[in-house]
Symmetry: C2
Subunit: 434 residues, 2 copies
């Protein structure tokens, strides 16, 4: 394909949706990718660039002049434009901004760049359709024809007063089915949902999902309409959040993919392995404390993997349910009640597991009866402990304002490993006197 046959290639690519071309470019090497981007017009390439993997986009932009980047930025909606610029090194950012020809577009992008990227302000676009309450339906439709050219998709029409304060909303459907001399103020719905520019994007996602909104207006401190957030951006937020929690639960720092370099993957994975390693070494030194070389000690030691696996599994199960409950907003404050429930749950699971364990170890493995009993009692205690730790830590972190998802995965497994083994040998010492 890459035989530099410009015309054919251009015609071929014209047929595809920009999201498909982006997938093709993701797989090309850098030179070819830059070549294709330079070949196509900026209206197409700006959309393609936004669909690319962040790493690849960054590399391609490094090969474009600030002038060329400014041309791409001109074609993008303000929110995408601000995202693209914010990924550039600081010195190039100013250069690109100064080369944007459309004054209004430039000012809007600069406004958006001022917001934190995790806030509604950082996610919103300036493109929206707004009408004044004093207009009529006919006047409104006329003006919308003008405004709507800049807005890719019209979800809602926002109604503002003479000071640009948000006071209501209208759907295009409402406009179409109303008589043309109706006053906007009479058909506007005043129960409009909105978010503040400084609101956290995850909260915005929760509100939009809860009320099934496809777009939400954003206001500043004066209740002035400053932008809108659309559902496609929120889907990305939801996906990123889910991916992040999943990766944390698996002991991977966020933001890596299977195709990243070994160096990047190592950076994301090694820290968590060290946490596990220190836990393992901690367990080894606990075991050392109890070592008196008696016969039963080796039998007890051989069941350490059983204790450890159980403690780890229970801890992850408990913490995952709590973390998900917190993320979905279905968990409220009553810590003690929840810990008591986890205690009961641990007791039920613990008794079930230890009854089976006692049967298998004593009757199949031929483990001495007293050791089997010790293992079973320890299993109940360890399961209850792991369930309580797994529940308590995420709730505690959440109350302190820390993302509870960091408490899942290796963190909870490691602490439960160490505590579990300690409890196991303490119980063994009590019963067997080792």
């Amino acid at each position: 394909v890459e035989e530099q046959n410009d015309k054919d290639l251009e015609i071929l690519l014209k047929e595809y949706h920009h999201a498909d071309i982006a997938e093709i470019i993701d797989d090309l090497d850098l030179d070819d990718a830059v070549y294709v981007i330079k070949l196509l017009d900026s209206e197409t390439t700006s959309e393609i660039l936004m669909e690319l993997d962040e790493d690849i986009r960054e590399k391609i932009l490094r090969n474009l002049s600030t002038k060329e980047i400014a041309e791409e930025v001109e074609e993008l909606d303000t929110d995408d434009a601000a995202d693209m610029i914010s990924e550039l090194p600081e010195d190039r950012q100013a250069e690109v901004i100064s080369q944007i020809e459309d004054d209004e577009h430039r000012e809007e992008i600069q406004e958006l760049l001022a917001y934190d990227e995790d806030t509604a302000g950082g996610l919103m676009a300036k493109e929206l359709v707004k009408v004044y309450e004093t207009w009529t339906v006919a006047g409104c439709l006329r003006r919308i024809r003008g405004q709507a050219k800049d807005v890719t998709r019209v979800h809602s029409v926002y109604v503002v007063d003479k000071n640009d304060k948000l006071i209501g909303r209208l759907s295009l459907k409402d406009l179409i089915i109303s008589k043309s001399d109706t006053k906007i103020a009479d058909i506007a719905k005043d129960n409009v949902d909105w978010v503040h520019v400084d609101d956290d994007v995850e909260d915005v996602a929760k509100i939009m999902a809860k009320y099934d909104l496809e777009a939400i207006p954003v206001v500043n401190d004066n209740q002035t309409l400053v932008g809108r957030i659309t559902i496609d951006d929120i889907i990305d937020v939801i996906r990123e959040e889910a991916d992040k929690d999943y990766q944390l639960a698996a002991g991977i720092s966020q933001d890596v993919e299977a195709d990243d370099s070994i160096l990047k993957l190592t950076k994301a994975r090694l820290p968590w392995l060290f946490i596990g390693m220190f836990g393992g070494l901690g367990a080894a030194s606990i075991i050392e404390q109890f070592n008196d070389n008696m016969g039963n000690f080796i039998v007890l030691l051989s069941f350490v993997p059983l204790i450890q696996a159980t403690a780890g599994n229970v801890g992850v199960q408990s913490s995952a349910i709590v973390v998900q409950g917190i993320a979905n907003g279905t968990i409220d404050g009553k810590i003690l009640k929840r810990l008591f429930k986890e205690f009961l749950l641990g007791l039920v699971n613990g008794v079930a597991i230890s009854l089976v364990a006692i049967l298998i170890t004593h009757f199949i493995f031929g483990t001495p009866y007293i050791v089997s009993i010790t293992i079973s009692i320890a299993l109940v205690a360890v399961i209850v402990m792991a369930a309580i730790i797994g529940t308590f830590i995420p709730i505690f972190l959440d109350k302190r304002g820390i993302d509870p998802a960091v408490a899942t995965g290796p963190f909870i497994t490691t602490s439960n490993d160490v505590f579990g083994i300690l409890i196991y040998f303490l119980i063994a010492k009590l019963i067997l006197g080792i």
Copy 2:
């Protein structure tokens, strides 16, 4: 609040959005919830019911007559109506359907009930706005005013030929900004995306997210337009999918929440704990095979938790990245290349971990030099093995058409525990001759 003061309560609740009322009802006991539902009119309660937790909705519906349920169903869009009916026991389903007064609504619901709930047909709604290619813009707007009353939100207007075959789409914006005598055929966009009724909902979600669609038309084998799927339903699909993967990774069967009963939670958690338990017992019997009561054997045993924790963590990391890559469609077929990369990655991580482990065990713990060396070599081998197993199993399952997410969590941890301990003692036997 629940002093049966009907009028006050009704007025109070009128102020709230149905999603907020649903949250309140989720927290009420069953009698009060049924009382509130019976108090309000079916236009409000039908929306509230759809927002409730599935369990609670089921309980409330059990307390309503089929006549009352039919009234709720009348108010719902066809997709929600079909969902609500499908949750009823079989015998009540037919009764409710026969009591729906609106013939068209009843037939549409029956059509939707025939589709599998995991397909586009099971997710779509019959409510949509369609126009014929031969109409003019003016005629179109007139007809839309009629059709749009039944459609909560108009995303796109679908253009069909005289046989109801989907041939294009229009946005309301396009209609508004076109002259009134323009033929629909002239302004319709013919590059309309669509899905087939039998397509998997997860594929539909991928397509809609990739192309940033807010609604997608659904066609049958004849390319006839039979329904449409909107983005809010897709958000639920994405969330459920993410929740399911997360819970599988944590060793919880899907579909439980922190507030479920202890019995339900135990059912979801206990099977995975048994998997872990059998792994632990398997490890114990492996250890037994190597037991010869030598001095170094106890030292080796005390490092079993270290080996086990490391094998488990590496396995979960590897499998999580692969599972996520498969879910996002970023992983392709080259298994050997990927396994080789995991091998290198495991080698890098393994060497880093074991260098630190050798220093700590020998110089701080005073472990004999030869044992420290054994542990370190075993760590490298175990990490490489865990990385390869963690990568291979999800890819293998995916190729066989099994959801790779089941291979994460306790499944991968347990198999890596057992293999890890086996490798550890095999290496120890080779080096130390125990």
